[in-house]
Point group: C2
Chain length 368, copies 2
Amino acid sequence: TTTYKICLLAGDGIGPEIIAEGVKVLNAVGAKYDTAFEYTDALIGGAAIDATGEPLPTATLDAARASDAVLLAAVGGPKWDTTDPAAPRPEQGLLGIRKELGLYTNLRPVQIFNALADASTLRPEIVDGVDMMIVRELTGGLYFGRRERFYDEPAAGVNGAPGQRAYDTLEYSEYEIERIARQAFEIARKRRGKVTSVDKANVLETSRLWREIVHRVHDADYADVELEDLLVDNTAMQLINRPADFDVVVTENMFGDILSDEAAQITGSLGMLASASLGDGVALYEPSHGSAPDIAGRGIANPLAQILSVEMMLRYSFGMGEAADDIRRAVTEVLDAGWRTGDIKDAETPVDKVVGTAKMGDLVVEHL
Amino acid sequence: TTTYKICLLAGDGIGPEIIAEGVKVLNAVGAKYDTAFEYTDALIGGAAIDATGEPLPTATLDAARASDAVLLAAVGGPKWDTTDPAAPRPEQGLLGIRKELGLYTNLRPVQIFNALADASTLRPEIVDGVDMMIVRELTGGLYFGRRERFYDEPAAGVNGAPGQRAYDTLEYSEYEIERIARQAFEIARKRRGKVTSVDKANVLETSRLWREIVHRVHDADYADVELEDLLVDNTAMQLINRPADFDVVVTENMFGDILSDEAAQITGSLGMLASASLGDGVALYEPSHGSAPDIAGRGIANPLAQILSVEMMLRYSFGMGEAADDIRRAVTEVLDAGWRTGDIKDAETPVDKVVGTAKMGDLVVEHL
Ligand SMILES: CC(C)[C@H](C(=O)O)[C@@H](O)C(=O)O
Ligand SMILES: CC(C)[C@H](C(=O)O)[C@@H](O)C(=O)O
């Protein structure tokens, strides 16, 4: 029996409820594939702020580093919303763990489950066949550049009166661009062989460097992969216009944040989308959606994105491709059988097919 | 007879063809409303690079400054695409004139013409009633911050080898945020009274300053207007999910670039959307679409966005609200009568209803 150590970060809002279903599925997979999963719970986000005053306690980082993979649910909520720049914020836990574990590759698959095709606000013929992988650079750019606020700078206020001024820095090195580009090309080779590299090279110097390096890497080592450049504003349009045309989309951190959420919404079912954050060591898996504080604690949250993040964990961290396929098949079958949580039900869903968080987890386990 | 001086910047691609239709409509309006329009042609973009080596010659700036309003068509094309950082690029003409004329407010109305509701890739019930105004800050942020590239910086390359590094700076002052916020609130008062302010305050210091100032201006002077904050990633989703809910959307330069194009695509007919760039002096009006080099010179481009940018000019620069309404009514009637250019035709459009650029301009004039 192989044993894997998994660090569980339940976080805030619906986090504890959905991560329990991820664990339920892991245990079922473990039994079926003769694999043992050992869990360590640790604190992150608002829950960590409440308990320790910090969004990412050292104990959490230690636990993550000592594990083979990290399963995260979600962080944040109105309780910790603050405009005080000195106060700790839940997101700092997320940004901190990305940086500390060196998780520079964020993979966000965007796929339509046939049973849920009607959930999209886009016409069915437009979303038919949508299957893309957004590869977002996750430890550089505006997220981690130098930032500052100046108080009472002369001339920053109205009509030259004293006022405040702030800046953030978008910075990229050749090294950072090269390694994420390689990831994108490698992934494209295992998919439909096409990479769309998104930048704003007509304005930004970092984008011009980005484009240059992406092409150099492509021409040297991945000439078999089709490469196109697309400006970020045009990409925001084309994702709506012809989403099924995209295969792998690679871009920097902030553009990736915006475009991956846009692409997710195209499916109409954010509660179904998982993500993986990979580096050179331990990787982290989480749903693409947030902590949904409005429905927390009621047992009605959709655990499927969390369960699909377990699928990604098995695939990318443990090389358990067959078990991963199994989870995806089970989820597809549960949906095909008509089962829905509140967020993915529609006017035609019979009342007795609408289930809560734990029941949805049970259904997936039954189908494994 | 009142006389207005208009500086015409035809630019590149389809620019010369569509601006001619804008002038045609202006002349018709002039005759009907006893107003004289005097035109001065000037060079910008690729055309200016070819003629003078510069994307924004001094003579063009002088002509713009000496006019009462500027009508621009479009700039750019593959002919001037270059990765050489030292070479002039057409977009520099556009960015330069925005900065030189102090055009800090970019207004991008997003509306659906009933006759074209089917052009959207979104479901009809979702786009029904879409009517928003995107207010984009146009002279600050990443577009105009300090940027640089370093060659052979140690440790920027692969595995610490020498490599390149680049940065761009996102900077905003209190003054810049306050004036664009006031514009948004003023516009909201004349519309449905709601402003959505978009930022990334959970990550960026400039966004935290943005949010603080927008709320201060709101609470002090515009408490009658409804104000909501929305993160940029969530906005990218909600524009697809519930576009009709948005009234006025105000945001910084780069977010505005991305979101206004996304919102434009929601209508499905980019060839119908105009924009106005306002400052404290002469204003500039242009279509939201680009120079479409692939169809340039063939007389088939859609001139309606250019014509609707004339509508905005009459409204915002000349206070000719009635004439502006007239143009909008004429365009609506032409569409209702079934006339289409190639970009807005669909499978049901009869061949004899598909017209070229000049004929579409004539039709609008007939309906004035
Ligand atoms: C919570 C926030 C800091 C985070 C981000 O912007 O990266 C989130 O939106 C995401 O995409 O994971
Ligand atoms: C051409 C480009 C520099 C410009 C911009 O990014 O502002 C364009 O996309 C626009 O939105 O007017």
